[in-house]
Every structure is written in C-alpha cells, then in structure tokens.
Amino acid sequence: MTEEAMLNGCLHNDASSQQELYYRYSPKMLSVCYRYAKSREDAEDMLQEGFIKVFTQIRQFQNRGALEGWIRKIMVHTCINHLKKNRKFSESVDIIHASGIQVREESIPSIVQAKQVVECIRMLPLGYRTVLNLYAIEGYSHKEISVMLDIEESTSRSQYTRAKTMLEDILIKKHILQRHKERVDWLAAVNP
C-alpha cells in the first residue's frame, strides 16, 4: 500500500489502512517511547495513546513534511504529557536533586550497541534523560524544552550538560566510549 493510499484510508477511518500505518511505524515509535518511559509496559501505554492521537488527528497532517516526523512529534508530546502526570517527574527535573546520582557499571546490560546506547540513556535520572532525549535526539531547542517541561531555559541547559557528562561516564564504563587524553573519544570506540 502506498503512503498516499494509506493516508487516504486513515482519513476515512479505514481500519486496514490504520493497521498498515501502525505496523509500519510502531517499532520505531516504541523505541522513542521506551527512551522516555520507566518500563516497557509504560512505553506501550504511551505508544497506544500516541497512535490513537495520530489517527484521530490525521486530518491535521495535511501532507506537510514527513509523516514519520509528524508521528514522532505526537509520540514525544504524548510521552512528555505522560511524564508530567507523574509528580515524581517535576521533582526529577530539579537539578540539585539529580546531581548526586552514581552509575554502577555492573547494571549496564551487555547487548548490541544500539540497544546498549539506548539502555545507557535510560539509566539516567528521569529529568536528565528527558532533557537529553529532547535536545540531543529529537532536536528541540532549550527554549522549546523549557516550554514543554515548564522549566527555566537555564535549567534545561544545565540539565543537559550534566546529563551529557553522566551519559559519557556511563558509556565509558561500558567500554562503548574511550577516554582519550582527557577527552571522550567516542568516535574511535564505536567506529574503529
């Protein structure tokens, strides 16, 4: 089924077209949700809510830009809303609260590299992880993040800096990255 036919079917609430769209994009979108979620179950809940929104708001897509990008934006917003419902989230974006967390090397799972990296990201405290996901992976600006998370722009920046440092530390401990002359030479490690 072409993307145009699939979209047209979704606009007419056709179940087979919706299913096609779901199976085409759900694996990638679940990995997006997984980076924000506490658990696999939470990620599936987010995915479910996100796709319901995708199908109910498909008329707003109007073929502007890539469909995947549009779906991804909805997923990210769904994840953020999900997190905001959790009171612990607002505490976790508090930079002081999150600064003293230590990473234990043995807790890092030893699996294939893409998954290793994602699992390392998921080891970050919730606030750090969310800012890092939004800034480094989704490409939102700190200003946009501050609006999305109801925090100061400066808080977003500092959260990201600390998240990045902590993630580098985790990746080095896992031997995904190597420290080279006081610098993280991640490129040499992953692309020898």
Binding site: P27, K28, K53, F55, V118, I137, V190
Partner: protein
C-alpha cells in the same frame, strides 16, 4: 549538533522495538468501538414484537366486560350445553325468567381463551348457576344460531359454576368432541379491533443546557488561572459562563401498540431543534485552545481562531448554539385514570439521537474564549423523555396535550473533552392519535 549528539541520534534511530499484539487491539477498539445501543434497541424491539404477537394470537382478552346473570331453575340440561353451541337460548330465555328462592349461579368469567378446550369443564365442580358473559355484543352474537363459544381458559374454569341440572361432565366432553369440526375461533365471534394507533405531535420547547466539569480538571492543561478578576474562585464551569434558554421545537410521529386498555408500547421518529444563547464579547481574532484529555490527563490541544471572548472584549453579544437532531423514541404510555372521554396518562421514551447539523460555540479549556470545532461534537447521542398528558377522545381521533421533559444522557462533546454539556428541553406537546383499521 556536535558529534556526540549525532552519535546518540544515530544509535537511537537504529533501535527498534516491537510492541505486543494487545497494543494494536486496544488502539483498534478505541478507534472502532462496537456500537452497543443499536443492538440493545433492536433486541428490545424484537422482544416487544414477540410479546405482542404472542399476546395477540394466543391470549386474546375482551376488556370491555359486562356481566349478564342467569338465574337458577330456568336452565334445562340441553340448554347448558355450552360446547354444543346452545348458550344463546339459555341467555335469552333465562334473562327474562323471574327470580325465585335462593339463587345458585355459575360464572363464565370475562376472560375467554382459545387455548383451553372445553373438555376441561369435566374436571370442575360445578354447582351454582350464574353465567357471566362478557361484552354486551356477545349477547347479540350468541343469539345467532351460527355462533358458538367453544373454549374457556383455565382460570375461568376454576370459577365456572353450573346448576345442578347441568348434564354430566361426560356429556359435555362428548358434545365437545362431536362438535370439534364446528369450532370457531373467538376472532370469529368478536370482530377484530386493531391494536395499532398512529400518533403525530408537535411540541414548542424551551431549551437549555447543563455544563459540568471541575475547574481543577479543566485547568490542569493550561497550568494557569482560568478566570479573570473576581471569578477566580468559581468551582464549576457553569459558573464561568452566562447563558439563557431559547425556544426550540419537536415534531414527530409514532406507532403505538395497545397491549391493554391502559398500556401501550410505541416507537417512532422525531425531529428536534434545540438552541440556547451564550453571552460573549467581540474581540480581534485570537487562539482558542481546546485541551483534549486522555485517561484523566491532557494529551493534546486543538487550537482554533476565535473572535469571541468569554470575558472582556469590545462589546457584548449573544451567541446562539443550535442543534438539529433526528431521534427514534422508543417507549411506553400508561393511562393512569380516566373515563370514556378523558384519560390522564404518563409516558416515557429512550431516544437514540443523531445530530444532523449544529452551530455550536464551545468554551475553551482555559474558559477565555468561545470557538467552534465540529470534530469535538458527538454525532450520536441518547436522550430520555418523560411526559404526562391528558387525552380527549373525539371519536375518530384522540387529542393529547401535556408537558414534557427531554434530557440528553451523554455529553454533546466527545468524551475526551473535559467540559461536559447536557441539553435539556422543556416542552408542551400537542398531538392527535388515531386507531388504525
């Protein structure tokens, strides 16, 4: 974007996870919910039709009963041969006979049925001699030699008392068997009267609405104060708006099926025009936000452009919210009390309703604006109607007048919109009904 961020993005994009099957199942269920009410309505309708058909075919009841009394001592054995078709001479002769001494009476109750064969009479202890026959017309029918009564229902038989001069039960049985071929249904005795009644009505209404939704639920989305100035302390959405009723109308027609003199089932079609007014303030075009809730929290926002504010603006105006609906009222009527001309009745209906068109301004979730988004308005809904009316029988037609109340059971808006609206219609119904031939 530095190299580290690029690395993270690449790795994150390479990673895929496959959701469990139940996720798609839940999504599909949410997008294509099974519409239960048509099945429920259809089932109720089928049950109603089934009961009605069964009632009509096997349990005919003559409701306009009158009693005739036959006095003891004038009834000869052969005249008591009811099964043989000789009841007419009994009635005609004994009605004229003088009363003498202690009266012993046998009773044929008003309820006559085609289900029970007359041979059951043999099992009853018949002693007395009052015969009660229903329907004045029955007397006339019985005078005709071609008319026969061939059956009685079980309840009647327990009350049936015959004079001592009656033939032995065995004779009755024999006669019954002999005359089997000449049995006729009661439908032949009583001309069938239609139980269907056609009704048509019109009702001017005053329409209003009930708004609900806790302020705390609604304002979670905007995370700021929903009200201006002294309205900050409002605890209900309804306190944040100014609205007033407006006139609407209902017009409809229905078919009623008479289960008894006092009880009718009915179903029909009805058009409803409902409207009310909202106070709004003109302003330059602004964004009006409708927060969409999912599982108790706000998952998304629909933004529309609006020229109307709920509070301060250039000048006030009254917006008119209008709904044109078609519904299928299914319900009953019960005649509580009355005589041949007048009856006092109550009625109730459940009304699956389809929203044909609407022009409705919705309050934004920050309570600041009025905007329109048809996608947030339900197409299907369910209403309940109650009414009481006086019916006046004018022979060919019956007039019906009385107050009615109609209430919308489900919010006008989609369930994920946190503000709930329930439409109310107060009306005065005027209608006529006519029994179908």
């Amino acid at each position: 974007m530095d190299e580290f961020e690029s690395f993270l993005r690449d790795k994150a994009d390479q990673y895929k996870l496959y959701p469990s099957d139940k996720v798609w199942g839940n999504i599909n269920k949410s997008l294509h919910p099974r519409k239960k009410w048509p099945y429920v309505a259809m089932a109720l309708l089928l049950v109603g039709v089934g009961i009605s058909v069964d009632y009509s075919l096997f349990n005919f009841t003559n409701s306009n009963s009158q009693n005739l009394t036959l006095k003891h001592g004038t009834v000869s054995p052969e005249k008591n041969n009811i099964a043989g078709g000789n009841l007419a001479p009994i009635l005609s002769s004994t009605l004229a006979a003088p009363s003498s001494g202690k009266e012993k009476i046998a009773t044929i109750p008003a309820r006559l049925s085609t289900r029970e064969p007359v041979t059951d009479i043999a099992g009853t202890g018949i002693e007395e001699s009052q015969v009660v026959v229903s329907e004045p017309s029955l007397n006339e029918e019985l005078h005709s030699p071609t008319r026969e009564i061939i059956s009685l229902d079980r309840k009647s038989l327990t009350e049936f008392r015959m004079p001592a001069v009656l033939p032995k039960p065995g004779n009755i049985t024999e006669n019954t068997v002999e005359n089997k071929s000449s049995r006729k249904s009661l439908w032949a005795v009583f001309p069938k009267k239609s139980k269907l009644e056609w009704q048509v009505y019109f009702s001017p209404t005053a329409s209003y609405r009930k708004l609900t939704g806790g302020v705390s639920d609604v304002t979670y989305f905007s995370n700021n104060a929903p009200f201006n100035g002294n309205q900050q302390d409002a605890s209900e959405v309804s306190k944040a708006v100014t609205q007033k009723p407006s006139f609407g109308a209902e017009i409809g027609t229905s078919l009623a099926y008479k289960l008894s003199d006092h009880f009718r089932l009915k179903a029909g079609i009805q058009f409803n025009y409902t409207r009310y007014q909202l106070r709004a303030y003109n302003f330059t075009p602004e964004k009006a936000s409708f927060g969409i809730q999912h599982n108790g929290y706000f998952a998304d926002t629909i933004n529309v452009i609006s020229n109307y504010r709920n509070y301060d603006g250039y000048g006030s105006t009254w917006l008119q919210n209008q709904y044109l609906q078609v519904s299928i009222p299914i319900g009953f009527e019960w005649s509580i009390v009355g005589n041949k001309k007048f009856h006092w009745n109550i009625a109730s209906t459940i009304q699956p309703t389809y929203n044909l068109t609407n022009n409705a301004y919705m309050l934004s979730t920050d309570f600041q604006h009025y905007g329109q988004d048809p996608s947030l308005v339900r197409k299907w809904n369910i209403n309940a109607g109650v009414e009481t009316f006086i019916s006046y029988n004018m022979g060919p037609v019956t007039w019906r007048v009385g107050p009615q109340f109609r209430y919308q059971l489900i919010s006008s808006y989609q369930k994920n919109y946190p503000i709930k609206e329930y439409l109310l219609d107060y009306g005065f119904k005027i209608g006529i009904s006519k029994t179908l031939r």
